[in-house]
């Protein structure tokens, strides 16, 4: 029983990271129709930027926590500006929109992974120092790392920030309008392509923050972007359209993954997210919280 409680408690913390990455994927998908297969590499890059700022530039942790996501923000916005705008602006065929986008993000994913791998510094496996350090906390029989609390707190702050931003600020409302109907948004004076860039930047920054939170718990390698699969599963649970849905999905996935590890077999952990994706889509083709896909006519 204690084992299960322990698995659930630490699953919630890792689940928060998956939820953050899933948020990053869903925000981009909702507003730009792009499935971002490079999401995991943005997580990885956030972590490496963090390490760079801490170790090489000797910046304080707080400054790093602001600057590293800012760097990932710039990268995401740049990718949208340089690549996606070109792909989107080309009205070659109205229908097969998704395929070129996905190919572009897969390209970005390998570009980033490859770029990090050629840096000799990343050959050695490294670890980012945690946000809160100190001895683990005992709650009854359950042991929690301090970093787990940091993850939960930062995730909650990011979510609250997103909720305030999208719900109560002019810029956030403009972004929502752009995602619902770009043409109408343009008509009321919203700079649509700048809005898309901002969304890409914002989503990338969230992925970067997730990387900073995750890196102290995992070993850092150029392949740590594979965490994106768990985020995809979380987003699938959320139906790729509901932000609260993918938070629920992320936390559920963190817990399920740990429970599978404890009760079924540690070998099965690797396949859990894929199994969840297939199961969810089999039962509800548009995800548990999703709306039905509206196919673009003609």
């Amino acid at each position: 029983m204690n084992l299960a409680l322990q698995a659930i408690a630490s699953g919630i913390a890792t689940g928060c990271v998956y939820a953050l990455v899933a948020l990053s994927l869903v925000i981009v998908y909702k507003s730009t129709d792009v499935v971002n297969f490079a999401g995991g590499e943005l997580v990885m890059l956030g972590a490496y930027f963090g390490l760079l700022l801490l170790v090489w530039l000797n910046l304080p942790y707080v400054a790093m926590f602001v600057l590293a996501p800012a760097a990932v923000f710039a990268l995401g916005a740049l990718f949208d500006r340089l690549t996606l705008r070109r792909v989107a602006g080309r009205k070659l065929s109205k229908h097969v929109d998704l395929v070129p986008y996905v190919v572009a993000t897969i390209g970005l994913s390998y570009l980033l992974k490859g770029a990090v791998r050629v840096v000799p510094y990343t050959e050695e496996v490294r670890r980012l120092p945690p946000l809160f350090s100190g001895p683990p906390v005992f709650a009854g029989d359950v042991v929690l790392q301090r970093q787990d609390f940091a993850i939960i707190v930062v995730t909650a702050i990011v979510m609250a920030g997103l909720w305030l931003f999208f719900g109560y600020t002019l810029a956030g409302k403009a972004l929502r309008a752009t995602s619902q109907n770009p043409r109408a948004a343009a008509l009321v004076g919203i700079p649509v392509s700048t809005a898309r860039m901002a969304v890409w930047g914002l989503s990338s920054a969230i992925a970067g923050i997730a990387g900073l939170l995750l890196a102290p718990k995992l070993l850092m390698t150029p392949d740590m972007g594979s965490v994106v699969m768990l985020a995809f599963a979380a987003a699938a649970v959320g139906g790729f359209s509901s932000l609260p849905g993918c938070v629920v999905g992320g936390i559920a996935l963190g817990v399920i993954q740990n429970l599978v590890g404890v009760f079924i077999s540690p070998q099965a952990i690797a396949v859990t997210p894929f199994f969840v994706i297939m199961l969810v889509l089999l039962v509800r083709p548009a995800g548990l919280f999703g709306e039905a896909v509206v196919l673009k006519k003609v």
């Binding site: 998908y29 499935v35 690549t83 070109r86 792909v87 080309r90 070659l92 065929s93 229908h95 097969v96 998704l98 395929v99 070129p100 996905v102 190919v103 572009a104 897969i106 390209g107 970005l108 994913s109 390998y110 570009l111 980033l112 992974k113 490859g114 770029a115 791998r117 050629v118 699969m229 995809f232 599963a233 699938a236 790729f240 070998q267 690797a270 396949v271 997210p273 894929f274 199994f275 994706i277 297939m278 889509l281 089999l282 083709p285 548009a286 995800g287 896909v293 196919l295 006519k297 003609v298």
Partner: protein, 315 residues
């Protein structure tokens, strides 16, 4: 496209088959190996493109069917003694059958959901290859015995090339007819607009399922071809990386065209060999190079290299 395929296409196939029988006497082993690899990739890429480029559906499960073809053909031969001529079609049919089982639920899905579901299936399949020790030898990889084709033992590149060239030619010929058939036109109609396709009396769901099944069958055949000239298969080779390689071929060559596939496979298939021959330091740039190529190709050549030479589809 409709009517009989032009004669020059069959002429090209004739040249391919003759080359397959003659080149083993002329070229060193290494070049024969590359030739075999390229022909296998060509069958794989065409199968992937039938779904991706012709029907406009995400087909991220392709490598899984390839793996089923490899393990199926090899194990049928090693465990049950079924020779290649029967084993490969059985394995390919098995891959197609599993493709059918996947397609029936998957064709209910669209866009991102389809992409995720097929991707998830591919990862699950790779996990099974890696974990099912008693059958696939798991992470140790499977050593395959030499295949037997019509009583001849085929175990190296020199012996395999004629067989592989004949299979490739047959697959290409079948594809020439397929894309010009009613079914092939239905593929394109669905890619261009599901609504219009449905309104013209095409059973969209059925055609999509068929596209999945045919694509899986192609991948299964390619898997069988792999067993002819390779002696070892490892689950790590059946993952995302292979998918990215295939995607690069399809995108760079020009999706939705057979000529584009040939170009893409030639260019991208040779690239790792070029990188390997180059100074040692260059090989680490492989991932970066493929990523960059994918991005640049999708930015500047939306219809691939083939598209640069042919007139716009809409014109």
């Amino acid at each position: 496209m409709y009517g009989a395929p032009p004669r020059r296409q069959f002429l090209a196939l004739g040249v391919l088959v003759i080359a397959g029988f003659v080149l083993p006497y002329l070229l060193p082993d290494y070049f024969l190996y590359i030739g075999n690899v390229l022909m296998t990739y060509l069958v794989l890429a065409i199968g992937l493109d039938l779904l991706l480029g012709w029907t406009g559906q995400f087909a991220f499960a392709h490598v899984a069917f390839y793996g089923l073809g490899i393990y199926g053909t090899a194990l049928l031969h090693m465990r049950l003694g079924i020779p290649f001529v029967f084993g490969m079609p059985i394995a390919a049919a098995g891959a197609a059958l599993i493709g059918l089982a996947i397609a029936l639920p998957a064709t209910r899905l669209r866009t991102v959901y389809l992409a995720l579901a097929t991707f998830a299936f591919a990862e699950c399949a790779q996990w099974v290859f890696r974990t099912w020790d008693s059958v696939t030898r798991g992470p140790d990889g499977l050593r395959m015995s030499a295949a037997s084709v019509f009583g001849f033992s085929v175990g190296n590149d020199r012996e395999a090339m004629p067989v592989i060239a004949v299979i490739t030619a047959l697959v290409l010929a079948a594809t020439f007819y397929l894309v010009r058939s009613k079914l092939g036109r239905a593929f394109c109609a669905i890619r261009d607009s599901e609504h219009v396709a449905a309104a013209s009396g095409i059973d969209v769901r059925r055609v999509k399922v068929l596209a999945f099944v045919i694509s899986a069958f192609y991948a299964g055949i390619a898997g069988g071809m792999y067993t002819l000239f390779q002696s070892y298969v490892h689950p790590d080779g059946l993952g995302v990386w292979t998918l990215v390689l295939l995607l690069t071929m399809v995108v760079v060559g020009g999706s939705g065209s057979i000529g584009g596939m040939v170009l893409g496979v030639l260019l991208i298939g040779i690239l790792p060999e070029v990188l390997r021959a180059a100074p040692r330091g260059l090989l680490v740039w492989q991932e970066f190079a493929y990523g960059l190529i994918l991005i640049l190709a999708i930015m500047f050549m939306p219809r691939g290299i083939w598209g640069l030479f042919t007139k716009s589809r809409s014109a």
